[in-house]
Amino acid sequence: MDVFLQVVVNGLLLGGLFAITSVGLTLIFGIVKVVNFAHGEFLMIGMYATFLITTRLGMHPYAAVAAVVPLLFVLGMMTQKFLIEPLMSARNHDIQIFATVGLSTALINLALLLFGADIATTPAYGLRTAVEVGPVRMLVGQIVMFGVAAALVIGLHLFLQRTQAGRGIRAVAQNRAAAQLMGINVSRVYMITFGLGAACVGLAATLVAPLYPTSPGIGTYFVLTAFVVVVLGGLGSIGGAFLGAMIIGLIDSLAGFYIGSDMREVAVFGVFLLILILRPQGLFGGRQTLSHVS
């Protein structure tokens, strides 16, 4: 029983990790309607930035937030401005896929050029220390990550629902042309949204870096799961992404323990394919999110 409890808690904590890495992806997808295949590489850049700041400046990884989040925000804005925006009017929308796939390939290999294939380990500053709560062991860094993920999801939800800027963003998401006619600067909204999505993954990077070794391919490792989470939660739904992350975390953890650790991915992607095929609007997605699928 204790083992089972431990596996479940591990799953939920893993869910926190998945949630924080997917929130930005689902935000960008929901508003800009672009599947950002380079999302994982944004995470990778954030992790390398955190690594450099902690090792070169001797700062706590969490203090790197102050630099990494703005950095990623600007990177996201630039991606939208110089890569996605020129393609928005293209006849063939699928070409956007290749734009971000190309960006992803270029960034992975740029990291290989700069840092080599070796892994970079960010100092843990005690974040990899385990604490025991009753029968269950957890890492300090995981608990923080879970808390931040929950706070980020709630914060983003409130921002989109309650603020004027948030309403503008949602209006653009629902009807670009109509929003434009209402005097909303659509191009700026897209840039800010893309920046926000990238900033979220920057925040995630500072939390992930002390727990996981950084390597050029680390983004691919996380982003595939992030896609699963986003589709499961209903594309563009931030709350859905959080729940989806928890479910995938649990599946991953349970499958890893009961089936075999090398088969975790088969379980996760199997669920993903089933959801994509049987319920493309996601487990929690309503009808309006379905419209993106067609």
Partner: protein
Amino acid sequence: MTDQTVNPAPEPSPEPAAKPAKRTTAAIALAALLAAIFITPVVVDDQFVYHIFITICIFAGLSTAWNIVGGFAGQLSLGHAIFYGIGAYAGIMLTNMGISPWIGMFAGAGVAAVVAVIISYPCFRLHGPFFALSTIALLEVFRVLALHFRDFTGGATGMMIPLNIGWEWMVFRERLPALIIAFGMMCFILAVAWWIRSHRLGFQLVATRERESAARAAGVGTVKVRLIAVAISAALTAMMGTFHGMYLTFIEPESAFSLAFSIQIAMFALIGGLGSVFGPLLGAVFLVPITEFARGALGAEAIGLHGFVYGAVLVMVVIFIPNGLMGLIGRIFVPRGTGTKQADEVAAPEVARTFTPPEPGEEIVRVKNLNKHFGGLHVTNDVSFTLREGEILGLIGPNGAGKTTLFNMISGFLDADSGTVEIKGPDGKWNSPTNPADFARLGVGRTFQIVQPFAAMTVEENIMVGAFHRYPSVDDARAAARRTAEKMGLAPFLNAEASSLTIGGLKRLEVARVMAMEPRVLLLDEVMAGINQSDVRRAIDLMLSIRDEGVSIIAIEHVMQAVMSLSDHVIVLSSGEVIAEGKPKAVVEDPQVIEAYLGKEFTHA
């Protein structure tokens, strides 16, 4: 191009003369390129140059095969390494059992084709990024499974082949035989792709990519053609995989089922020109040498450099030349404006005729007690009617009355909640078709209220997609398409891109495409909406001449002038119910109809 006798129509100006010349130039350029690929390494006779050109052949072959699905059918697979891996493993496993890879190649192709059909069938309902994501997920599953079942695949340590030299084992000391095989396979794959693109399958694939519902209405089995395409593509990819496995003499899951490799395959096609037959070849010729030189010259210091170049080039191409190198060549050699002439309102031919309403014939369509709910909304409430042979049935009613929903149900695009739609087949038997393909087979053709041209095709090719329903061969279909275009007044625009037509032209194209199917029953959804008065008159004449050929027509129309002068019988739909039916004269005087259209106060006016 061979049916000038069938179609004596005046040709649009410079096009016909220019086209064969352009074609010859293209053929010479292609032959020169292929010859260069083969001869250069033989002449230079350097190990490294051989390697580069063999790699070009391999990637050109893989990308061309990918293009059949990714380009023609528009399903952007990022999981093609699945089929490559299957081919490579099949070849090496069978070689280890003492079976020649020449046999293993076909075994792998067979397995890959079956796997492709099984995994694509559910995934084809996904589009764009979602299809791409599902293929990535499948690739990951295959990779993990290949790692897991190590007794079968050798797991992470991979598999070596025994070094039996010779043609039957596809392993050589020299490079020349490997080049011969790679080159031959590449040419074979190019030939297959070219064949597909220039035959019915290719037209149907492109039509499906451009407008799936219009393709279905034109009788294209959209699922079937894509499954055929993916099976062929997977088989060809697997065959190349077998050869590449033998060429490398070693295989392991991380490289065989690699996402980066899948992306590379797709990338060459995109850079060369998505959907064009020889684009992928161009992409490989252009990119492989750059990256192989980077790898060879800079070696281990520059790990990642070639990948960076790939990614950067891909981004640049997508932004600056989205149609790829082929598109760029097209732009340079064909100055704008000569290829496509801006289509303008040109008169549909006047048909001078005296109108005698023929006797209505036998029943051909029977609709009984049709019901449909959208949530709480009862869009079609117990609708019944019949259509007789040679009759024009006008279907009118206010906006939101359920006319288009009714059309969708009597063409198979929407299932009714209850009730039946029966069509009498050419053999006189009654059928109850359930999907657009069945309706098309029975000779029911439809147009769409919002025009659905295949934008990337010419007017002629658009109409040919319909004509293929009756004529499997390209030449017959082209002749039929030209006859139809002539009748519809579209002959001057045969070689114009459909997207260059005006709205009146697009509406005629919509009708022309369905007419080319030679339907027995024609469903016209507001073909006259938004076109000018003189065009309305021409459209009326056109519909009458269509009917005189023995086609039965149901027409949704708001243009009352047309409804009154055309229809033998009129049905008025309001809020999903038939509120009146009968002769046009009688129906418009019906108080209920006036009320539905104009409101209560007009009933007494």
